[in-house]
């Protein structure tokens, strides 16, 4: 465990040092590649005056609400498409088609429909999450060995009980990968929306990124990018890793 931590720390320290050395070599203008020190200085400054916290809060809130809505709608819809030929031919095909649409394409529509509001942001995030979750759930349910539902039925399980006690848990490995993919898509769509659109109800990390570019403040751009990466890692470790560990333990799919 300690060895793993050590290896990871050394690796990231090496990256920062290499970055520092490249900057010191003065190959590119500091406008293009700021030094890690100035990025760190920006982060400290933005943390002290509160803009960083506020932007993070705004973005994470949008993300969690939109992602939550996407999951709440996506899993039941995926169950529907998996259980009915008719839903498969309608909702299923719709999901398959819209999933290929880059979620940034929803931004103009969201603006027209909802104006510069939170609703527009949420709409884009939900559109980014929903379709891949429908497809993952559908795929997961269809991949379940039929023996599970037969065994459950023979023991007297019917209807809703079969869905909640057999189909959903059996599809959990697929649901998880769908949720992870949905999370990644939610991030991408929200960043795209925040970079393109100024929303008066709150400035998110995407806005900070955007203004950093406008002001030629590369330290700000890279600083915000770092924050985005850190949040993504933190969510993976706290939200998905426990489910993954449960899967590995129960299903016996551990990698070691």
């Amino acid at each position: 465990m300690i060895a793993r931590w050590l290896a990871a720390s050394l690796f990231f320290m090496f990256i920062v040092v290499a970055w520092y050395l490249v900057v010191e070599a003065h190959i590119w203008s500091p406008l293009l590649l700021p030094s890690p020190l100035s990025v760190f200085k920006y982060l400290r400054f933005a943390a002290e005056d509160g803009t960083l916290w506020e932007a993070t809060l705004v973005t994470v809130r949008r993300l969690l609400i939109g992602y939550g809505l996407g999951i709440l709608a996506g899993i039941p819809l995926g169950l529907l498409t998996a259980s009915s030929r008719w839903c498969q031919d309608t909702i299923g095909v719709l999901a398959l088609g819209l999933q290929t649409l880059p979620s940034v394409c929803w931004v103009p529509l969201a603006l027209l429909w909802f104006g510069q509001t939170e609703a527009a942001m949420l709409f884009v995030v939900v559109m980014g999450t929903l379709w891949s979750l429908i497809i993952a759930t559908d795929h997961g349910v269809q991949t379940i060995p039929p023996i599970y539902t037969r065994a459950a039925r023979s023991m007297g399980s019917t209807g809703l009980h079969t869905w909640t006690h057999v189909v959903l848990p059996a599809a959990l490995p697929f649901l998880l990968s769908g949720m992870k993919q949905g999370w990644a898509f939610a991030w991408r769509s929200l960043m795209a929306a925040e970079i393109y659109v100024t929303i008066l109800s709150g400035f998110g990390l995407g806005h900070l990124l955007h203004y950093g570019r406008e002001l030629n403040a590369m330290d700000q751009v890279i600083g915000v990018m770092l924050i985005i990466v850190v949040i993504g890692l933190a969510v993976d470790k706290t939200l998905f890793a426990p489910i993954e560990q449960f899967l590995h333990r129960r299903w016996g799919t551990a990698r070691q």
Partner: protein, 268 residues
């Protein structure tokens, strides 16, 4: 000793009655007559083995008794009542790994018990532990399914099928995927459990020796259309050893008859 005599099915009240049961499946290119006019009576506490080559409809018959499929024609009764659907009175133990990987061993055995009304949490737990003890796996009750060997998995499946106290236990080639040694152990277990609990068991297999080792009666099926061809009473004392010479005499005879039908099928 657990000396058991054959229950002549027609003199005792029948636990399970099938009359003129037919079932066919339509695929895109042909119609398969899985079962054609099958009539069968099984007495309370009887151990009946259905034997035949694959495709002779024996698994279909089991699914019909389980209520998982409906017959096209004919009558299926258990305890004097027509079977309309699946339920804990006639449980199936399948060939393949049908244990739920998202539950522990105990969770799997509890699954069926939770579907029975009127049992307290403590009673369920007690019953689950009792049947895990019976199959010799109580100390594995908190294990995950993937940690068990193939034989242990089928033992848990047996405990899961027995726990809701079904009046008829249906077994669909439950030992088909196991190695010979493990299988022989399980023959011993299932005979011991059967003599203790006297469940009515319908056991499907294509292994004649296995059928002779376990059954009071061996019923021979032939395919296309699936029909009952012959019946053999096995009046051997229990517990039976699959390697015994007495047993071999019966299985040789039955195998010879079975081959006759299969060859007739190929020639025809």
């Amino acid at each position: 000793m657990a000396a058991s005599e054959v229950n002549p099915a027609n003199t005792v009240s029948s636990k399970l009655v099938l009359e003129h049961v037919s079932k066919s499946f339509r695929t895109r290119t042909l119609t398969v007559h899985a079962l054609d006019d099958v009539t069968l009576r099984i007495a309370e506490g009887e151990f009946v083995c259905l034997v035949g080559p694959s495709g002779c409809g024996k698994s279909t018959l089991l699914n019909i008794i389980a209520g998982l499929e409906r017959p096209d024609r004919g009558l299926v009764q258990a305890n004097g009542e027509i079977i309309v659907g699946p339920g804990p009175h006639h449980l199936v133990m399948f060939q393949e790994a049908s244990l739920f990987p998202w539950l522990t061993v105990l969770g799997n055995v509890l699954f069926g018990l939770k579907l029975i009304n009127g049992l307290s949490v403590a009673e369920r737990r007690e019953r689950a532990e009792y049947f895990l003890e019976l199959v010799g796996l109580k100390r594995f009750m908190h294990s995950n399914v993937h940690e068990l060997s193939g034989g242990m998995k089928q033992r848990v499946a047996l405990a899961r099928a027995l726990a809701p106290n079904p009046s008829v236990l249906l077994m669909d080639e439950p030992f088909g995927a196991l190695d010979a040694l493990t299988r022989e152990q399980l023959y011993g277990d299932i005979q011991r459990i059967w003599s203790q609990h006297r469940k009515t068991i319908v056991f499907v297999t294509h292994n004649v020796r296995e059928a002779v080792c376990l059954g009071d009666r061996v019923i021979l099926f032939s395919p296309n259309p699936g029909r009952i061809r012959e019946e053999f009473a096995i009046p051997l004392l229990r517990p039976r050893d699959i390697n015994s010479v007495d047993l071999a005499r019966y299985s040789t005879e039955i195998t010879r008859v079975l081959k006759g039908y299969v060859q007739a099928e190929v020639a025809g």
